[in-house]
């Protein structure tokens, strides 16, 4: 825990805040890999430059005839090679563990939100005070996702047209949205604040403008926000004449 805080402060927090529970596990994996490959990089570069320096052309220096098949010399390749394999394993195991915890094992959800990607906006459907999706008090927003801190959220990710990617750098969250599919994932924000939502998959003209914000609020703030925005009468009203959001895809417009 202490180790984590120190390293974040020194290495990673400078670049981007960590606002979800799994952000640190990705950061630590990053640092682990950085340490291992950094070591190899430095060793290899130092050896490279040292050899170039030591064996630079000099008066009267003759070269040694080495085929590389000699056992005592090939050892110098084989031993580092074994160490590289060892490092690979040291990286693979935690990499898969981190992946497993984030993408495969989904902790039970406290709340579920629905995320729609379209050219070039994010829209969200959040359950109202009743906590259930697809009821009259659902809150539908564009560009802003309001969530409660320290709550496990599942998201159902959909695309209305092309491939997008739902990314919240501060949460270390990234998941492509595919048209015709619903992809579920999870996050658990643990720091109050406002963070960027990006689209990280080229989605056409306005790709760079497809910004959103996720607003992590305290329990009270979020409840207040929900009350303000989930007016069942308002919610029901546009729902009746407007076509269901799934059907207003651009594909529909095209036809």
């Amino acid at each position: 825990m202490d180790f984590g805080e120190v390293t974040e402060a020194v290495m990673y927090e400078r670049y981007i805040t960590a606002a979800s529970t799994y952000a640190h596990s990705i950061d630590h994996l990053f640092l682990l890999i950085a340490a291992l490959v950094g070591f190899w990089l430095i060793v290899a570069e130092v050896v490279l430059f040292a050899l170039v320096f030591k064996f630079r052309e000099k008066e009267g220096q003759s070269t040694r005839y080495i085929t590389g098949e000699e056992k005592e010399l090939h050892r110098w390749i084989t031993i580092p090679h074994m160490l590289v394999i060892l490092c690979d394993i040291v990286i693979i195991v935690p990499a898969i563990l981190v992946w497993y915890n984030i993408k495969q094992a989904q902790p039970p959800a406290d709340r579920t939100v629905r995320v729609y990607a379209q050219q070039w906006a994010w829209s969200f459907q959040e359950p109202g005070p009743d906590g259930k999706l697809d009821t009259d008090d659902d809150v539908r927003t564009v560009g802003e996702l309001h969530v409660t801190v320290n709550t496990t959220y599942h998201f159902e990710l959909m695309s209305r047209d092309v491939v997008h990617s739902f990314a919240i750098p501060s949460f270390r969250l990234k998941q492509d949205a595919l048209p015709g599919r619903t992809i579920t994932g999870w996050f658990r924000p643990n720091r109050v604040g406002t963070y960027d939502i990006q689209c990280t998959q080229m989605c056409g003209l306005g790709h760079a403008l497809m910004a959103g914000r996720v607003i992590v609020e305290t329990q009270q703030d979020h409840a207040a926000w929900l009350m303000r925005n989930s007016n069942p009468s308002l919610a029901a009203q546009p729902a009746a004449p407007a076509p269901a959001p799934e059907s207003t895809t651009m594909a529909e417009v095209r036809r």
């Binding site: 990673y12 670049y15 990705i26 994996l29 990053f30 890999i33 950085a34 490959v37 950094g38 190899w40 990089l41 290899a44 050896v47 490279l48 170039v52 064996f55 630079r56 220096q61 070269t63 040694r64 005839y65 080495i66 085929t67 590389g68 010399l73 390749i77 580092p80 690979d88 990286i91 693979i92 990499a95 898969i96 981190v98 992946w99 497993y100 050219q119 047209d161 092309v162 491939v163 990314a167 270390r172 969250l173 990234k174 492509d176 949205a177 595919l178 048209p179 015709g180 992809i183 689209c199 990280t200 080229m202 056409g204 003209l205 306005g206 790709h207 760079a208 910004a211 594909a251 095209r254």
Partner: protein
């Protein structure tokens, strides 16, 4: 000079200008056509890089020589930069130009096995380049859906808003593939069947091995993508639904087909680059390559493994998350043969007598920079960190730390090394060294800041970060501006190369047949080699890297010298 024998064996009448420069079946002329087309495309690709780096460094300002970079223009420019640099620069220069020039010379025969197929290959390639560049001029502009062209964006004009540009892009890529399939088949057959008498499997120079393996990898991986391109073309023009989920298709299918090609493609261009570097290191260190056979087996290992790692580009693309675990393992496995290769290269230096001429500087520069590209790949190949780093500038920086050494540094190594052979004159060494340092140092200035912005979450293909609060921090903007200035300096220094290249062609010191005192067969013919290459076709007696053999007067022993 004993090598400068009048070439008597086969009489070829001197052809006219058109036949000589545009309709030639001579492998050397076709290589030059590929080289110059590739260089012209590199300049276009470099200009595009200048345009979008200017927009990144100085957002929303007028870019001199281009104008205002709108979001649509930006997308076009980055898409075309990627496409051109990979398919129209790296492939033609590394494989086609060096392959065409060197294969017949290095294996000791007079031409490719099928010269007319060779000519056709270049003509199709040229056509594809024209189609691609023409797409800038059509209504709606060039394709702007990224070089990976994921459908449904690329499949429908209503989504990408460049209906004609998208089709032309696809057409150009497909034509280019056909060109390289034809060329690659020719290379493989030539090396398999037309080697000089006595040249056994392990007497083939490593560069030729690597070019052939690269073309075999290309042939095996490009097929599915050609099929995929036909399907995408039909989606665009005939309203089929291969990739459209509304019509029962699957957008992931393209991603699989694309990356099944796309990842081996990295090794398709890497291997010839490694080959060039190996040749140069052996010559300038005056050393036999350390473990020629280990090198070959590692190369084969890379080739085979490259077919089972493609899905690491799709960790977060919505594939089954369990697949990511398999592909993490295979991806990290590929570090084993690649590390082996790099270790062997470095070990070759041991006990040598290293002369730091320009080609050697480039070759060593390749090793030093490619190492950085290689190790940063581990971050992206590990599924855990890839969740965060996928499609960020960290990826861009990693990718360029592999591709700039491959497509720029090793090409400069190759050009400076074989220039005397190609044009019969030496390049200017001083200018060459200035160009080297003026390219390699700014190259690091460009991409090290991009590693940092990537770690800070900058996503790629974004013309302006104004919409993202976390990304529009001034500190990050300073990094982007630094990177842009690095690019401007690097591009400026390429003028030195261009000057040196053309100036030396007329004014350089005349080159002997073998200015670098090398052992391989291309140095036994006059510079430049005549039509038909060898006055007397050579016989090979030994492997290609016999340097510093004890007990001989010369420190090198040419492959064709009987004793």
């Amino acid at each position: 000079m004993s090598e400068q024998v009048q070439h008597a064996g086969h009489d070829h009448p001197e052809p006219g200008f058109f036949l000589k420069y545009c309709w030639s079946t001579d492998h050397k002329m076709i290589a030059m056509q590929y080289l110059f087309t590739g260089m012209a495309m590199a300049m276009i690709g470099g200009f595009l890089a200048y345009v979008f780096r200017m927009q990144q460094g100085f957002p929303n300002h007028y870019v001199p020589g281009f104008g205002l970079v709108t979001p649509g223009r930006y997308n076009e420019v980055v898409t075309m930069h990627g496409t051109i640099m990979i398919f129209w620069v790296a492939m033609p220069v590394l494989i086609a130009a060096f392959g065409n020039y060197l294969i017949p010379l290095m294996i000791g025969c007079d031409d490719m096995a099928f010269p007319r197929i060779n000519r056709l290959s270049y003509q199709i390639f040229l056509l594809s380049a024209i189609v691609l560049l023409g797409s800038f001029l059509v209504k709606g502009g060039a394709f702007g859906g990224a070089w990976t062209a994921y459908p449904p964006l690329s499949a429908s004009g209503a989504y990408n808003l460049t209906p004609i540009g998208a089709t032309l892009w696809l057409l150009a890529v497909a034509l280019e593939f056909v060109a390289f399939l034809l060329g690659g088949i020719n290379f493989t057959v030539t090396v398999m069947n037309s080697r000089a008498p006595g040249m056994k499997m392990f007497d083939i120079p490593i560069l030729i091995w690597m070019i052939v393996l690269a073309t075999v990898i290309f042939m095996a991986s490009a097929g599915p993508l050609i099929a995929g391109a036909v399907m995408l073309l039909f989606d665009q023009t005939m309203a089929t639904g291969f990739y459209d989920p509304v019509r029962g298709g699957d957008p992931l299918l393209w991603q699989h087909l694309f990356w099944f090609f796309g990842h081996p493609e990295v090794y398709v261009v890497l291997l010839p680059a490694m080959g060039i570097v190996a040749e140069i290191i052996a010559v300038f260190a005056r050393k036999k390559l350390f473990g020629y056979k280990s090198m070959l087996y590692s190369t084969w290992g890379v080739g085979i493994l490259s077919f089972v790692v493609w899905a690491h580009h799709q960790f977060v693309a919505g594939i089954d998350p369990r697949m990511a675990n398999v592909f993490t393992v295979t991806t990290l496995l590929i570090s084993i043969p690649v590390a082996e290769l790099v270790f062997l290269y470095i070990a070759t230096l041991y006990g040598g007598s290293i002369r730091l001429d320009t080609p050697m500087l480039w070759a060593l520069g390749f090793l030093a920079e490619f190492l950085i590209g290689g190790v940063t790949g581990i971050f992206l190949g590990s599924s855990g960190t890839d969740i965060y780093l996928h499609d960020t500038y960290f990826l861009i920086a990693h990718f360029h730390y592999t591709f700039v050494p491959i497509a720029i540094i090793s090409v400069f190594a190759g050009i400076t090394f074989w220039y005397p052979k190609m044009f019969g004159r030496m390049m200017n060494e001083t200018l060459g060294k200035i160009h080297f340092w003026g390219t390699v140092i700014p190259f690091n200035v460009i991409f090290i800041p991009l590693f940092m912005t990537g770690m800070a979450g900058d996503q790629r293909r974004i013309y302006s970060y104004a919409q993202f609060a976390e990304q529009s921090r001034p500190a990050l903007q300073h990094l982007r501006t630094t990177s842009t200035i690095g690019l401007l300096v690097m591009l400026s220094f390429q003028l030195i190369f261009i000057f040196n290249f053309f100036w030396s062609m007329r004014n350089g010191k005349r080159a002997e047949a073998n200015p670098w005192r090398s052992t391989t067969l291309e140095w036994t013919v006059p510079s430049p080699p005549p039509h038909g290459n060898f006055a007397e076709l050579p016989t090979v007696y030994r492997g290609p890297y016999e340097y510093g053999l004890p007990g001989r007067a010369d420190d090198y022993w040419p492959q064709n010298a009987p004793n």
